[in-house]
Structure formats: structure tokens, C-alpha cells
Amino acid sequence: MLNHRALKIIPILLIFSILANAQSGKDSVYFFSQNQNLIDNILFSPTFSNANPLKSYGFLQLDFKRENGGFRRAQEAYSINMPKFLAKGFNILGKFRIAGSIEFNNSSEDSLANGQKNNLEDFTTFYPYANKSGLYKRQNYIAKTSLSYSTLNNHIVPFINLDYQKHQSSGTVDPRLSSNRFILKVKPGVNLNLNRHSLGLYALVGKADEQVSLGYKNDVYKTSLLYPDRIHYMQYGYGSSVIKDTSNVYKYDDYKGFGIQYATKFKDWNIHFATEYQLLINKNYTQNKTAPNFATVATFNLNTINGSLLLSKNNSINTDQQISLSFTYNEGYDGNLKTSGSLNRVNYRVNALNVSSGYRLLWDKNKNNAKELGLNLSYTQNDKLDLNQAAGLSYEQLKIDLSGTLYHLIDEQSKFKISLKPYFIAPINTTLKYNTNSITEFIRNVAFTDYYYFNSSVLGGEFSTEYLTSKLIKNQQFGLYCQFDLRKMLKQDMRNDLNPTFVPNGFRSVFHFGINMYL
């Protein structure tokens, strides 16, 4: 088994060899957002890549994100600063196709309460919880690679994709979180090409290890109940929690699944369809594997099915069109000796669905001023339920956005684009369930706060611009960009029966700026 250091070094070597061989001069690929969508789709897919004429691509990004504001969820920081480095690309070298990406990010999250867990996903349970807000540091190292080999005159293309992620979270106030998670997924598969059709099939297997611990520098906070926000609870569902039950959790997880990808061309439309099924089997322990009485205390199974359809028409001289449809469905349930007495009896359930669709029309793409309009519509449904506590939060939201983009060619070596996207989020149905006789701290501080968050109407706007130039280094294109997203909560119906520590209100803004380098 490769150790973590080797797993970091191999993708780095791979990605830089790809980037070094990437060709330049694919201006439209870098300029128009429809092409960027297409690139993101084909990057790790030999299936989609097979139907695309692009043979190489390289991209480097240095990004800084600043996010802050009072309109936030209970387990979200008031302000987040995150620098990020991203490198991605692919290349076709003879019969081999190599793709890879590396991302490092390091976030500093201030005034984060109720968040003594990693922030990788929102569905799992069995983690510590305390109401004390403080500063958190998180780091992610994410590497993805794809290697394929063309055989039998490109009719059969076996491939293997590797996804690796190392996550680290730590808190700086008592109780201090420490979370270290390592995920490795392998996707071996084969792509079958026949005429205009490409079909890719792959299996998915993976492992994840995580150690979560809480520490106290101040022994008074550790042993006392006099400081309510310093008291940690083990969260065993969506409300079921035990006061200071344990401060060490070991998670040993498995991933299983498979995926299908299909690409074809119909008239002038390129069609990319992908779907993937993944089962996460999360097992929780209070002792590590070497302990003599190592035994599973709780499990959580999460079934995830996602799918996407991307239809692109870009053969016209003047116009491009793109239609996208995607969905993700999650269904999870636990088994916990503490809440149900059995690993096979469910106390906590979650299901979530996100469906989104979009249409983009680009015209005058060969003129100095190209324009693009876009319309996106998405629906989100999320339902979490704790049976023991008769507590849960379910919500449905609809989001609609309309975007307009202007692409302006300044001269042969420089251009810029500017985009404006107003959007509106409407709550459709938000339901909070709780038992007045057993309101735990989690229900009060997380469920109540999130109820207000998801029950709010939101009006927002996103402004982005990028200036691309190859004047800095000859034949090397750089992009200087910034992006600003501002959303405002419009109205809130306050309830007398809810008393969370804080109520989301006001604005939330996300600001990005950085530099792109297109290879």
C-alpha cells in the first residue's frame, strides 16, 4: 500500500508532466464559459474526451476567497478566508491519455459555532458538538488523476481514475476539534467506442479513515458544566446527543459503486450523459483498530445517485448553445447502539435531492463583442429526521438565475469578459419538527437556526469579470479575475416558540480574486 507521501508526490509529478506538454492557443476554450463547462466535463472522462477534438489542456489558478456575513447556517462561520491553488489538465500522448488535477486550500473560519466536524459533507452524524464559537483552520489536499490506454483501434479504452483527498480541521478554542480524514477512491473502467457512440463503464471502490478528537487546554472546561457553550455533546442523529460521552471518534469507511458515461453526437449537438451510484458505509468507533475491544458503535449508510446531461451545440460560426440537466439524490440512514440499541435499527434518516437545469446562448462569438444569456433553474429538497427525538428539519427551495455576459476582444493579445447574474431563492416548504419536552442543545442551536435560514427568501447577485492577456509572457495567456456574490435575506417570519442562540439575518457576500494561467 502506498503511503500518504507517495500518494501526494505521484499526482504532482503527473500533473506537471501534463501541464508541461499542454499546448497553447486554444483561445475559445479559455474564454467562453460554455467551453469551460465542456472542459470540466471531459477532463477526467475518457468517454467524453473521445468525442471531443481537444487533445490537450492546462490550467493553473491562484485564488483567494473572502466570505462573510450574518446570513448563514448554524454550522457555518461568520467569515471565511481561503487561499487556493489549483492545477488541472490533460494530454493525449500516443495511445495514452493522462489527466490530473491538484488542489490545495487552507481556510481560516472565524466565529464558527456548532461545527466540531469536518466540512466535507452535510449528511453524516456521530460527531461532537458544542455551541462555543471560535476560529477554525481547515486544509484540503485534493488530487485526481485519470489514465487511459487506447486499444483495438480505439474501440476499447481501459482506464483507471484515482481520487485522493486529505482533510484536516482544527479548532482553536475549548473544546478544540481535531479532524483528520483521508479518502482514496479508485475507479477502474473501460470505454467502448463505436462510430459516434462512446460508452464508459466503471466500478468504484474506496476507503476513508478519519480520526476526530476534542481536546481541552483548560481542565475547568473539561470537567465542569458551569460553562454551557463549552460543553460538548456527541451528536447521534439530528438531535439525539449525549453530554460529554466521548471525545475520540474513529471512522473507518468504505465506498462502493459504479458509473456509466455515454457520449454521442446528434445532428450538431454533442451529448454527454453521466450517472454514478455510490454507497458510503461509514462505521464509527470509540477506539482505534489496535484496541482489544474494538467494536462498531454506530454505522451510517449513504446512497448517492447523481446524473448529468450536457447538450452542446457549437458548430455554428456565430452562435453556441448549451443545455444542462443534472441531479443528485442522497439517501442515508444510521444504526447506533446508543440511540436504537442495534446497528440494524434506524434512528436517523436523511434524504436530499438537487435537480438543476440551465440554458446558455452565445452569439456574435466571432465578433469583437460576443454576448451570452443564460437561464438556470434549480430545485433543492433536504429532509433530516431523528426518530427518537421526533425532531427534524425538511425544506424545499427553488432558485432561479438569469445571467448576461459580454465578451470583448480588445486586441489580438488581450480581451475581457464581464458577467452579471441576479438570482432569487424562494422557500417552497420548510417544516421543523421537535418535541417540546426534549429540546436538546443541538435542536435549539442548529435545527432552529437552520429553519430560519432555509425558510428565508433570498435575493442575490453575482458579478464577475476577467481580463485575459498574453502580453505578460509571449504566447502565454494569463487571466486576472474577480468575482463578487452578494445575497440578502428578504423576509423572515419569526416564531415565538423558537429560541436559537442566533438567527440568520442580513447579507452574505463571497468575494474571489486571483490569477489564472492557461497553458
Binding site: 475547568v220 473539561k222 470537567t223 465542569s224 458544566l225 456509466i260 440499541g341 434512528n347
Partner: protein, 455 residues
């Protein structure tokens, strides 16, 4: 081709979705019935079970249920959340009621108690609880125990600990020869073959155990044992009705700097966290005891002798060089008075049951007959995960007292005041310290009004 692929996809998704939908059993609300009973050899009369106060606490969400039994002693509760529960039962029969029920005149109240912790109920359950008669002996009671100590850097750590004993009668009592015992037990929850069902030591399995009756229920095993001295008259230290005595670990004013036995100055950063024990009635001074065991041993730095305060006689101390109490609530406390048949200079002592070879270096814990206990109090950590198995037999304290602040919090457990008769406070003593004790935010050895708390 496309059509075939579409059909294949639809089939696959259908298989996935249906394959994942296992028939999952869901947790359901449960019904719990508890049948209360008594040992009819000891409690021969018809018990008025409907007077029992039963408290059920869910450990998952801290929801409390106050329940009542019917006349037959059956407690039924429906549709409660499955999980781990603690149960506390307390049944008070007044003297008049006792007289009516038994035909035997009785002035004082009569109690039946029981408590259980961490009981797992995940399905419909029929539980049985046999109540234990906690006969109140009367006389002295433990009023206050300050085991927590004060802040480790700005307070006095454990040096300011004390125990207060109260005369709960209407007559003058004499403290001469009163034993103060720190009752020992397991300081973790490790299960092994030398433990009882609740993971406490099974002392009957100690090597060379000789015990009349039950080695666990009829005795306590002590870590420290002190006695109030006497001049032989038995009347040297009178304690008036409604008054108390304070036994200090070190009878000094801990709010001020003092010189230790090592000649250094013991400073105090935050005097507000600690207490003045210079006016204590007695203090533990272990130097003479240590010299008997190990002549020439240097004095323990903080075990400073206050010549104005009489010293307790030390009969046993292990693991500490002063009357150091466990600040986490992992010890229990008892006051005892033995009769002449019990030789305090030759107390039977036993090794921990887990020790299978006894050598000269093995610590042997003195075994004291529980029949000599006048009063006792079980303590526990407030945090469930830190709690250790109870040490006292249920008959002497069926509950446990704790402080919310944890170790070094300056807090003490203190017995509640049941009533006041002509200015004399009568402290609550039902042999269930979960009901009988509350806490002082700051320990108070001053014996003043502020050192009492209401019910």
C-alpha cells in the same frame, strides 16, 4: 444503439434504487413498566407504593419523567424515547403512617429507596426494583464535603479540602472517637472477572478474604481513615444540637500566603477561590502516622500543623500524604463509630481483588463493617462518561451527590435543610443523596447561615 443504451440505463438505475431499499427496522417509542417490591422478610407490612416518587432521566436528551406507582407498586410509562435511563426511587413513610401500618409506634420517618444508572431500554421492558430500607440512624450527619478543591493555578488545588459533620438531633452529641472514612473503589469502569455487575471490585474475590456475611454489601473498604481524638471520657468534644464540626485537610487560612513545611512561601493568586480553614475544629496531620511507618521521612510540604487546631488520629492513609480527597468525585465518605469489640489497631485489610499475589509492598485496604456507619454519602462526577461504579452499599446511600463545576471548581456538596425547629435546622436525611444534597457555588466552612441550602 441509443435506444438499447437508454433501456440499459433505466434498468440499472431501477436495480440500484430497489437494491438499496432494504427493509430497515426503525426505532420506535417504547413502553416501560417497573414493578416495585420489597424484601418481605425485612419490610413485613403493606407498603404504600403510591407514595413513591420515581424519577426517570433519559441520558440522551436529559428529559425527566416524574412517575407515580399504583397501590400494587406498578409504574407504567408509555411511548417514551428508547435509550439509556437513570431511575431514582424514594418512598417516605412518616412516623405516624408507619405506626398505623405496623401497629408499632415510631416517631421518625421511614424510607425505602433505590437508584439505578445507565439502564438501557430499547424495547418494551418490564423492570423490577426491590426497594431497600434505608434506616436512618440519626445523630451526626455529613453536612458538607468539599472534595473539589480550587483552581490548580490561581487557587489552592486540593490543600483547602474539608468535611463538615453536623449534629442533626435536638440533643448535644459528642464527637469523640468519631471515625471519618474515605471509602475506596475502582477509579475506572474496567470490566474484569474480579468485578461485580456494575464493574465495582468484587471484594469477595480478594485473596485471603474472611468476612462474616457479604464482603461487598456488609463492609466498606477505605483509602483513608481518621478518628477524632478523645481523652477517654468520651465527652471531650461536645457538639451542640444544630451545630457542626469542620475537619480540615490543613487548618490554615488558604486565602493568605503561608510558610510550608519545606520553608517556602505558599502564595495564593486568587483568594476568592479558596477558604479560610484556620478556624476548623480538627485537621488531618499525617506526619506522626508517616513516622510510624517510615521513620525519618521528610514532612509533606503542605501538611502544615496548626498548633491551635487538634489533630485527627490517622489510622490509615494510602496514595496521599494528607487528607487528600479525590476532586473528581471518585470516592465516598462515611462517618462511623465502632464499639469495643472492634480493634482499630488491628483492622482486617485486603488487597484489591485484581491483585493475585500479595507481597510486603501490596497495599491492603482496611475493611470496616458497614453496621458501624452513622452516615455516608456517595459522590459521583457530574459527567456521565466520567462516572465510576458506586462504592457504598445501597442501604446507606441509594443515590449520589455531585457538583456541576467539576474538579477544582471551589464547589462543595451540601445537605439540604428539611425544616427549622426553634431556630435549629434539621437537615434532610433520606439516605438518598441525590435528593438530600445540593451544592454551594463556593464551599463554606463558616457554619453560618450561608452554609445551609433549602430543599
Amino acid at each position: 444503439m441509443k435506444q438499447k443504451l437508454s433501456i440499459l440505463f433505466v434498468l440499472l438505475v431501477t436495480i440500484i434504487v430497489t437494491g438499496c431499499k432494504k427493509n430497515q427496522e426503525e426505532t420506535q417509542p417504547i413502553n416501560l413498566s417497573i414493578q416495585l417490591s420489597v424484601d418481605q422478610n425485612k419490610v413485613w407490612f403493606e407498603v404504600p407504593y403510591e407514595k413513591a416518587e420515581i424519577t426517570l432521566v433519559n441520558k440522551l436528551n436529559n428529559s425527566k419523567y416524574s412517575l407515580k406507582a399504583n397501590h400494587q407498586g406498578l409504574v407504567a410509562v408509555e411511548s417514551i424515547v428508547p435509550g439509556a435511563y437513570s431511575i431514582n426511587v424514594s418512598l417516605k413513610i412518616t412516623g405516624a403512617e408507619f405506626t398505623t401500618l405496623t401497629g408499632t409506634y415510631r416517631e421518625s420517618d421511614y424510607y425505602l429507596n433505590y437508584s439505578l444508572d445507565n439502564q438501557s431500554y430499547f424495547g418494551n421492558t418490564d423492570a423490577k426494583i426491590q426497594l431497600i430500607n434505608s434506616e436512618i440512624i440519626g445523630g451526626f450527619v455529613i453536612k458538607q464535603v468539599y472534595y473539589a478543591g480550587s483552581n490548580a493555578s490561581t487557587g489552592a488545588i486540593f490543600r483547602d479540602q474539608f468535611i463538615e459533620v453536623y449534629n442533626n438531633t435536638s440533643e448535644t452529641l459528642y464527637a469523640d472517637s468519631l471515625l471519618i472514612a474515605v471509602v475506596y473503589g475502582k477509579i475506572n469502569k474496567t470490566a474484569d472477572s474480579y468485578s461485580l455487575a456494575n464493574n465495582q471490585y468484587d471484594w469477595s474475590k480478594s485473596l485471603n478474604m474472611v468476612a462474616t456475611g457479604n464482603a461487598n454489601d456488609d463492609y466498606v473498604y477505605v483509602k483513608e481513615l481518621f478518628m477524632i481524638p478523645s481523652d477517654g471520657t468520651g465527652k471531650k468534644y461536645p457538639v451542640l444540637a444544630g451545630k457542626s464540626i469542620v475537619i480540615a485537610q490543613t487548618a490554615l487560612d488558604h486565602t493568605k500566603p503561608y510558610t510550608t513545611n519545606g520553608g517556602t512561601t505558599q502564595n495564593i493568586s486568587n483568594p476568592a477561590l479558596t477558604v479560610n480553614l484556620a478556624n476548623a475544629d480538627f485537621e488531618a496531620y499525617l506526619y506522626p502516622y508517616e513516622q510510624k511507618l517510615e521513620p525519618g521521612r521528610t514532612m509533606f510540604a503542605s501538611d502544615v500543623d496548626n498548633p491551635n487546631v487538634p489533630n485527627m488520629e490517622t489510622y490509615f492513609a494510602t496514595g496521599a500524604r494528607d487528607m487528600v480527597l479525590n476532586p473528581q468525585g471518585k470516592e465516598s465518605f462515611a462517618i462511623l463509630k465502632v464499639d469495643k469489640s472492634f480493634n482499630l489497631n488491628n483492622i482486617p485489610s485486603y488487597a484489591l481483588p485484581t491483585v493475585r499475589t500479595v507481597t510486603a509492598a501490596t497495599v491492603l485496604y482496611p475493611q470496616l463493617p458497614a453496621k458501624y456507619i452513622i452516615d455516608a454519602v456517595e459522590t459521583e462526577a457530574i459527567i456521565t462518561a466520567d462516572q465510576t461504579p458506586r462504592r457504598l452499599p445501597m442501604a446507606f446511600d441509594s443515590g449520589a451527590a455531585s457538583i456541576t463545576g467539576g474538579q477544582y471548581s471551589s464547589q462543595s456538596i451540601v445537605r439540604k435543610t428539611a425544616k427549622t425547629i426553634g431556630g435549629r435546622k434539621v437537615l434532610q436525611d433520606t439516605n438518598n443523596s441525590r435528593n438530600d444534597f445540593g451544592q454551594l457555588i463556593k464551599a463554606n466552612p463558616g457554619k453560618d447561615e450561608a452554609s445551609f441550602i433549602a430543599q
